[in-house]
């Protein structure tokens, strides 16, 4: 038993001395739990917020105004009601300009409350929803959130409108009787107070199986779901062969690219430790030659890896990589260059292969999580969404989506590839500075 205890003690001592192993055991999962916890309702954030929603209200109805003011005040959506034209003027949206706004990728979805959204003679509320589903999950959640926001905020107005309509059709006296009878029937079957039903309107009882749930706003939402008509129109990506695979291939490809390039950059340590670096530098070779060779090797390896992954996407999932291949190749090259810069900066700041790989694993998982490789960034709390934009993964995924989903040309992808170049250059500058001062050579 003493032997076993001593051996356990030995393992703990070795583990504790391996700081990378300690970090990977505690820090990486803790950080990921923190991020995922924030997304799925933990302490850090909660529900999605700040989703950009283009919006026009063309209706003068009270309900339309109520919906607009509700959406204006909710944190879930960031309402955009105008765009900047070529002359720099802020112009309110019309139906055409709001569609254009979605098509050019300025926002993923738009809500239009048309003139005839709700009139004195209409029974339900009619809304129009334009979207670019380059992220299916995002779209489903936006639609769900939109309905939930509208439903939870305005049921009483809607119910009152229904009661008003019954009185209009049947007359005040008969309409009032009808409403009271309806309330009585609901009361009988659902076991709630009739006066309460009349006060609240005919909300929420239809789909409930138990009397205990009658007051819940969830049931109200369900009841109204059928009444509010959301006419959705997909504006972009209708021709995409395999939307799911097209959306996800870029993010996953980038994550694995970062892993392979980090491992390759960390080989600088192996070469140094084995004495190969010394042997190479005893030949007519400079340190700059070694660094450039590593950079170019890793970039080319990354380009080949991404091309193979996208080609596999073409073979197995029918992803259309050839219709915009030139721009796809450009994003691939720049993503690979930026990933290489990341791998090299890790090598520059680490002292051992284990450190580089450990730190790399941590950063790659974090970047993939917050950069949108696994799920859309709008899930994240606002402050993490800001951080997302500092990651290579975010801009690479954006670039791949622009090229594969939107079919964007060079001019359209210029800001995205500009960001990739910028991030790559900053990281490169840091790593060159560090290589000059570090002891890798």
């Amino acid at each position: 038993m003493t032997n076993i205890l001593n051996l356990i003690k030995k393992d703990y001592r070795l583990f504790w001395n391996d700081k990378v192993a300690v970090a990977l055991t505690f820090l990486v999962p803790a950080a990921l739990i923190l991020v995922f916890g924030s997304i799925f309702g933990g302490s850090g954030g909660g529900d999605a917020s700040g989703i950009r929603l283009a919006f026009i209200n063309q209706s003068n109805s009270k309900i339309a105004r109520k919906i607009e003011s509700t959406l204006d005040t909710t944190k879930t959506f960031q309402m955009i009601k105008s765009f900047t034209d070529d002359k720099g003027n802020e112009v309110p949206f019309d139906t055409n300009s709001i569609k254009e706004y979605i098509i050019n990728g300025s926002a993923s979805s738009a809500l239009v409350i048309p003139k005839d959204a709700y009139t004195d003679t209409s029974f339900g509320l009619k809304l129009r929803f334009f979207y670019n589903p380059r992220n299916q999950l995002e779209m489903q959640i936006v639609q769900g959130l939109l309905q939930q926001t509208i439903m939870t905020q305005i049921p009483e107005i809607f119910n009152q409108s229904m009661m008003r309509r019954s009185e209009e059709y049947l007359g005040t006296e008969k309409g009032g009787m009808f409403n009271r009878r309806m309330a009585s029937v609901i009361s009988e079957y659902f076991g709630v107070d009739t006066s309460e039903i009349l006060k609240q309107g005919f909300q929420s009882f239809e789909n409930d199986s138990t009397a205990e749930d009658t007051s819940s706003s969830k049931a109200a939402s369900q009841f109204f779901k059928d009444i509010v008509r959301l006419d959705s129109e997909q504006l972009v990506g209708k021709e995409i062969n395999n939307p799911g695979a097209t959306r996800s291939v870029g993010g996953w490809a980038m994550m694995f690219l970062l892993f392979s390039i980090t491992a390759s950059a960390a080989s600088l340590f192996d070469e140094r430790n084995s004495g190969v670096t010394l042997r190479i530098l005893s030949a007519p070779v400079s340190r700059t030659d070694i660094l450039w060779s590593k950079y170019l090797y890793n970039i080319s390896l990354g380009v080949i890896q991404l091309l193979v992954l996208f080609f596999m996407g073409y073979l197995f999932f029918n992803i259309n990589i050839f219709s915009n291949f030139g721009n796809l190749l450009l994003v691939i090259i720049l993503s690979s260059a930026a990933a290489t810069a990341f791998g090299m900066v890790l090598a520059a700041f680490s002292k051992t292969t284990a450190q580089a790989n450990g730190l790399g694993t941590f950063l790659i998982l974090m970047m993939s999580t917050i950069g949108g490789a696994w799920f859309p960034t709008f899930f994240l709390p606002p402050f993490i969404q800001i951080l997302s934009k500092f990651t290579i993964v975010y801009w690479s995924v954006e670039g791949f989506l622009q090229v594969l989903w939107n079919g964007d040309g060079f001019i359209e992808i210029l800001p995205t590839i500009g960001m990739l170049i910028g991030i790559g250059m900053v990281i490169n500058a840091i790593s060159f500075w560090r290589f000059r001062r570090g002891d890798i050579f």
Partner: protein, 305 residues
């Protein structure tokens, strides 16, 4: 000729070389003998242009050597202390990679590689991955990789560490033949036997200082005595260490004690005492003093300390 003038190299925690000056002649087999951490490898790294000296200067045939003297590096071949090879590829592929760094013609390189592999006895294993080689085979390949460009000067930084005697002897023989062909060889070691066997001139280095330079004979003349009494180490002789130490200083070596006789030792007295104790004469030998004894004499420490 290699001239090292007042070279100093400092690292954050230590001064590896402190104002060192040496001259190494053409075609010389020059030994740099010192314990681990003496500064030997740092000096080699400056000689190959891997490191720059903080102060002082190194020149080879009048040309200054530093980290940007790329042309000069073609004249030098470094046999590194570590096995600087790629384990996952074959011996031939390793040599192709390292040979290509010297801009050798592909066709020429093929012949050179075959020649060097034959020379170190690895031609039959050229297509085998290095990871399948024994330590001795790797050492030999390590040497071959340094000679592909036919350098005038060969820097050997402890090239026989951790290998079997057979491979060590093969490397010695080959280095000797290269020296006979006219190559200048600088050989660092902390094994005095290697320096004694191979080097025509030796510098003893310790804590970044050159303590003494000369031929083996010149160096040993610095000792007060010309003979050493070796006593074979066994339980019987160990009992009488105090007796032996009354005749001089005892150095504890791996398999023997070396007695450095005190001034005025009378041999008959020594043997009479040995006989009285019943110590067999087969345990006692007379030999020339070694560099180990000189190092101890000069530094007060053993080479292996």
């Amino acid at each position: 000729m290699i001239a090292i003038k007042n070279v100093t190299k400092k690292f954050p925690s230590t001064t590896a070389l402190d104002n060192i000056s040496l001259e190494i002649k053409e075609k010389e087999f020059f030994g740099l003998l010192g314990p681990n951490g003496a500064g030997k490898s740092t000096l080699m790294n400056i000689l190959i242009g891997y490191l720059d000296a903080d102060e002082g200067e190194v020149s080879i045939n009048g040309q200054k050597m530093n980290t940007v003297a790329f042309a000069l590096r073609k004249k030098i071949g470094l046999v590194p202390q570590s096995l600087a090879l790629y384990d996952e590829i074959t011996a031939k592929e390793n040599l192709e990679i390292f040979g290509s760094l010297y801009g050798l013609d592909k066709k020429d390189l093929r012949y050179i590689i075959a020649d060097k592999l034959k020379m170190v006895g690895l031609f039959d294993r050229k297509k085998d991955k290095v990871k399948t080689f024994s330590g001795g085979m790797k050492r030999r390949l390590n040497l071959a990789a340094s000679l592909l460009h036919n350098p005038e000067i060969i820097l050997c930084d402890e090239p026989t560490v951790g290998i079997d005697p057979q491979s060590r002897n093969a490397i010695f023989d080959y280095l000797q033949s290269l020296n006979d062909e006219g190559k200048t060889i600088i050989y660092t070691t902390h094994y005095m036997e290697e320096a004694e066997r191979l080097c025509s001139r030796i510098a003893i280095i310790d804590f970044g200082h050159i303590i003494s330079v000369g031929t083996l004979g010149e160096l040993l003349q610095k000792l007060d005595y010309k003979q050493t009494i070796s006593i074979i180490k066994n339980p019987f002789t160990e009992k009488y260490l105090s007796l032996f130490s009354s005749f001089g200083e005892i150095i504890d070596e791996q398999d023997k004690y070396e007695l450095q006789p005190s001034d005025g030792l009378i041999l008959s007295d020594f043997f009479r005492k040995v006989e009285e104790k019943g110590i067999s004469y087969t345990f006692i030998n007379f030999s020339k003093p070694t560099l180990e004894a000189l190092f101890l004499h000069l530094t007060g420490r053993s080479l292996r300390d």
